[in-house]
Amino acid sequence: MTDSADRSLPSWASSAISETNEEALKALQTYKKKDADKVIVRFKAVGNAPIMKQNFFKITSSNRFQAVIQFLRKELGYKGSEPLHTYINLAFSPAPDDTVANLFKSFQTDNHLIVNYSTTAAWG
């Protein structure tokens, strides 16, 4: 890996640096803003899991996946202790702090994110 030419700066660049730093902190604020966009999540029952009347929901994309699990529990009327396993694309369980935005960008099919749910561990 070659050294970047950026490593040694001429002296005239030093005042530019503090401006750059301020801009960087401002830029960070832009990136921290929570996305109010919603994406479509499609729930699909697996095995003996109860089927819901409504399967497509618009969910705010900045939500963590944990919020989706809790939403699903509420829709199914499940108490906290009843087992419920969730998967993306019948393939894997995401970390509960993965955001819906990230999961949608990475795994969406036909513009929706498929979340499978079952009462037993399937693809754990």
Binding site: D3, S4, N21, S93, P96, D98, K105
Partner: protein, 366 residues
């Protein structure tokens, strides 16, 4: 440096490329070994308000040089032993349950159980880079100071329990998610025998490079030593490549190689900010690998603006380079500041964590 595993052979262009027999070249193995051996210093101290009566306050800190690829729940046995055997009074501590123990950073940020220790450390480094007093020029690693709480874990925010089983499930989940990102299915992971899948976690628990990579090499793509030397793969079996091997002899051609994945499993950490994940194809076009520079320009252009153009060559300056510009931010992978020319596919093959993910942490320059 010790020998690189007992089953590695030097890359042989004439070899038959089956997944099982594929040799991992020296270069890839070297970086995987360096990643595996990377450690970070942790300084763990119990919240003084929670110290059981009669604790030995002279020994209140536990120092450990922890592997970047490991997890806090795996360190819990030794942490527990230190505090229970040397610090806490036996009677006062007898009702403590270590499943209720949890960590915060010294700054009060909740520490996530399921993050690899190296990521926890780097994420803390970039958070510290926001504070004006921090200095990145220090070459000595500063210990990450963690506060250990002994009760009332904030379960709503922790999301996962620290049990070894939950930790293993989370780890396997990340490996499968990475597999899906690369190939659009988890066939490679689920195709492993149960014994092999368990072997991955055992390799982490025992911190054994050979045991871990004996299995991981079956599912992790490698980068060929120089792509021009890679032979064209046999076309008889169904190809997983989304695009045909390039007719250009310099192009990547190893069928299951790092440059042929659908997307590299990578996450971007903005200091005190969101985690960003999306599809990251390894090539911009048939001949141009995607670099860190491309990736960062795509996702956080305000922090990694495009370089100004190179001035045309002249008599006085026959080999011009782009003019130096102050860079607002830097990118850390495995604790190392990455040159922006680094290829994303290379990162995926050589500098990913044990869970398959490349974690890019963005720090702010001063």
């Amino acid at each position: 440096m010790s020998t690189y595993g007992t089953t590695r052979h030097h890359h042989s262009p004439a070899a038959n490329f089956s997944n099982r027999d594929r040799a991992t070249d020296y270069h890839t193995t070297l970086f995987r070994r360096l990643t595996w051996d990377g450690t970070v210093p942790l300084e763990i101290r119990v919240d003084p308000k929670e110290l059981p009566a009669n604790s030995d306050r002279n020994l209140e800190c536990y120092f450990v040089q922890a592997p970047r690829v490991s997890y806090l729940p795996l360190l819990m046995p030794e942490i527990r032993r230190f505090f229970m055997d040397l610090v806490f009074d036996e009677t006062a501590a007898k009702d403590l349950k270590d499943e209720e123990w949890w960590f915060e950073t010294a700054e009060g940020t909740l520490v996530k159980w399921h993050w690899p220790i190296g990521l926890i450390y780097d994420n803390h480094t970039i958070s510290a880079s926001l504070k004006p007093t921090s200095s990145r020029s220090s070459t000595n690693a500063i210990p990450l100071r963690l506060i250990l709480h002994l009760a009332s874990p904030p379960n709503e925010k922790l999301l996962l329990s620290p049990s070894p089983e939950a930790c293993k499930q989370a780890f396997m989940g990340q490996l499968k998610e990475a597999d899906f990102i690369r190939w659009g299915s988890t066939k490679r992971m689920t195709g492993l025998r149960q014994q092999d899948q368990d072997g991955l976690w055992e390799g982490i628990k025992e911190h054994n490079f050979d045991d871990y990579w004996r299995v991981a090499s079956k599912v992790t793509p490698t980068t060929a030593p120089t792509r021009a030397q890679s032979p064209v793969p046999p076309s008889s079996s169904a190809s997983m490549v989304n695009r045909p091997p390039s007719a250009d002899p310099g192009g990547p051609s190893e069928r299951d190689g790092a440059y042929n994945v659908r997307s590299i499993p990578v996450r971007l950490y903005v200091p005190d900010g969101p985690v960003i994940q999306g599809l990251v194809p390894p090539m911009i076009d048939d001949n141009t690998p995607r670099t860190l520079s491309h990736y960062l320009l795509d996702h956080i252009p305000l922090l990694f603006p495009a370089s100004p153009p190179v001035p045309p060559p002249s008599r006085a300056n026959p080999h011009p380079r782009p003019p130096p510009v102050p860079r607002p931010a830097y990118a850390l992978v495995q604790g190392i500041v990455m040159p922006l020319e680094t290829e994303m596919a290379w990162l995926g093959g050589c500098l990913a964590g044990a869970d398959g993910w490349v974690n890019v942490c963005i720090g702010i320059n001063h």
